[in-house]
């Protein structure tokens, strides 16, 4: 953790140690190659990119609080052969800058990576203006935009490495940097693939973001009760891993999707499309935040309240399994 004024406790509520990996990983990548530029809109001390700034100040650009300008500037820089990493809160990246992302990054096929951090309701009591529960719906409807969702520190590193040479833009849905560790080492995060974190035969949980760690814990709870749950980490939402979804449906006979997002058109929507188009009727449920604006509370309180917890996910899985057997 970088030094901070010990009298300040507010910082603790919005960021944690894993947020530092992003700046460190990018700085390390930039040690090796000269085509990396990192940008932020007055948030480097929130998203940990001050680590990059300290190591490569000549390739760090701060636009001030002007996110749309940042997106379009990134496009201009990328048009000259750079890989540009822009960073801001997910609510601003996906909603305020949706059009710049579509028109200047995706339509123009620019290799810009959108580090969209504090997604979901991880801004807690900052409220709806700072929540991003619509971003998967928005971004996965943009042609030419890859959508990744690393779930912990090591998978952030893995995703940054795996996508560095991708020719088009990438949207990285990131949490607030306090995610529980899922991977003990840096995994290969091959674009377009879910990763199977736990084998099981009774049900498949497809989870993304913070829901991955909670789903693994939910699987532990259910295992004690004799139910074997397969857990897939939806590390990429677009392109979606059709094979993993259909194999899970075929081999386990039921699917539960879990995400920190509005229930409409996010991960669950993407999974439902694959299942429906394959013509297979299986027990299926989207487990997400409700279709309403979230309450304010510290993030951990919100997750508990909305059931995005091991217990909540285990309950949802059990009710799906009960329906399956009846």
């Amino acid at each position: 953790m970088r030094p901070k004024d010990p009298r300040s406790w507010n910082v603790e509520t919005t960021m944690g140690d894993t947020s530092l990996v992003m700046g460190d990983e990018l700085a390390t990548l930039a040690d090796e190659r000269d085509d990396i530029v990192v940008m932020t809109a007055d948030l480097m001390t929130s998203n940990g990119l001050d680590v990059f700034h300290a190591r490569h100040p000549d390739r760090f650009i701060n636009t001030g609080i002007a996110e749309q300008n940042m997106m379009s500037i990134a496009a201009g820089i990328a048009s000259n052969g750079f890989r540009v990493y822009v960073s801001t809160f997910a609510s601003f990246a996906s909603l305020l800058c949706a059009e710049q992302m579509r028109t200047d990054l995706a339509y123009a096929a620019m290799p810009v990576r959108v580090l969209s951090h504090h997604a979901g309701v991880s801004m807690g009591f900052y409220g709806t203006s700072h929540h991003a529960v619509e971003d998967l719906a928005i971004t996965r409807a943009m042609a030419g935009l890859m959508v990744a969702a690393p779930c912990d520190a090591n998978s952030i590193r893995g995703t940054l490495r795996a996508t560095i040479d991708h020719d088009g833009p990438v949207y990285l849905r990131l949490g607030r940097g306090r995610e529980k560790p899922v991977y003990q080492e840096v995994p290969l995060m091959t674009p377009g693939f879910f990763s199977k974190l736990r084998e099981g035969t009774d049900l498949t949980i497809i989870a993304t973001g913070i829901a991955v760690a909670e789903s693994l814990s939910a699987a532990d709870i259910l295992a004690e009760q004799g139910t074997q749950i397969r857990v897939l980490n939806a590390a990429y939402i677009k392109p979606i891993d059709r094979d993993a979804i259909l194999t899970g449906a075929r081999e386990t006979g039921g699917i539960l999707s879990v995400e920190e997002h509005n229930p409409n058109a996010g991960l669950g929507g993407a999974v439902a499309e694959v299942i429906a188009e394959a013509g297979i009727g299986i027990p299926f449920r989207r487990f997400a935040l409700p279709d309403e604006y979230a309450l304010v509370a510290p993030p951990s309180h919100l997750y508990r309240h909305y059931g995005l917890s091991a217990v909540g996910i285990a309950d949802a899985a059990r009710s799906l399994l009960d329906g399956k057997s009846s």
Binding site: N69, G76, I77
Partner: protein, 289 residues
């Protein structure tokens, strides 16, 4: 500069033409070709092209360093058409210079054509960045100028904006950042024709005084008559002061060159009937004979 590209025959060097009569004639040719292309599409932005025809002529036939045989050549000057609906006036120039085959123009806007109302960089050689959503391109130009600095390249970045475009907030974010970063390879050109789709800009959402606004944002400012080829040429050639972006506010007339379009808001988007088309062509041709 002293770089190898000076020896390359394919390169069109900067400031290559000083023949103002030829450049003025080329502007009239752009007007005529625009009328031809609108005929294919069935509607088009005549008057928006006509207000900047002289500037497009000077940019592509004198000011910009270009390489038509290699449209992605790293050291080319960049030109961004913020007012992307004027692409119809730019396409004939790009075809004429050899960026793409003349035959592409025959299918302008037809199914599968690379040439739409707004320019698409992924389809059209010679387009340095896509546009269409007014207000983005000055930011993109800031990025290109920053990239030139990062790579130590000497290309210039010129961005043409409409005056109505200045109503967009992102333009002023870009203006603020260009001055903050001290981008002296960047120039903005405002085609101040005074009219938007719904009428006079000063009635819809006033933007004057344009010059003072940019000046207060830290830009070097020059105001010119945007139909005077000599003034345009000198303004486009003049280098930026060290450490400052530069804006050229070109005072123009919307629909310039066709009497019944001049100063009229009705031809922002339109389609000339056969008789009016003949009148328009005659008026334009009378100045080139």
């Amino acid at each position: 500069m002293g770089s190898a590209h000076e020896l390359d025959d394919d390169i069109l060097e900067r400031f290559r033409s000083t023949d103002e009569h030829e450049l003025a004639k080329r502007a009239e040719w752009i007007r005529l070709r625009t009328i031809d292309l609108v005929e294919i599409a069935g509607s088009g932005h005549y008057s928006s092209v006509f207000s900047c025809a002289e500037m497009l002529s000077v940019l592509y036939y004198s000011t910009l360093r270009l390489k038509p045989s290699d449209s992605r050549w790293a050291d080319r000057d960049r030109f961004l058409l913020g007012k992307g609906h004027v692409a119809i006036g730019l396409y004939p120039c790009l075809a004429d210079l050899g960026f793409f085959p003349q035959s592409w123009l025959e299918d302008y806007t037809r199914l599968g054509s690379p040439l739409g109302d707004h320019p698409d960089m992924t389809k059209v050689p010679g387009i340095d960045f896509s546009s269409g959503s007014i207000g983005h391109n000055l930011s993109v130009g800031v990025g290109m100028a920053l990239a030139a600095r990062l790579k130590g390249q000497d290309y210039r970045t010129l961005v043409m904006l409409g005056d109505g475009e200045l109503n967009e907030g992102q333009v002023w974010e870009a203006a603020m950042s260009a001055a903050h970063y001290g981008l002296d390879s960047l120039a903005a050109i405002v085609d101040a024709n005074g009219l938007g789709l719904d009428g006079p800009i000063e009635d819809i959402m006033g933007i004057e005084p344009i010059e003072l606004k940019f000046e207060s944002f830290g830009w070097d400012v020059e105001s010119i008559d945007g139909h005077d080829v000599q003034q345009i040429r000198c303004a486009f050639e003049r280098p930026n002061p060290d450490g400052k972006p530069r804006v050229i506010v070109a005072r123009t007339q919307k629909g310039k060159g066709v009497s019944f379009m001049e100063g009229s808001p009705y031809w922002h988007l339109g389609y000339l009937g056969p008789e009016d088309k003949e009148i328009a062509i005659r008026e334009i041709q009378s100045r080139t004979d």
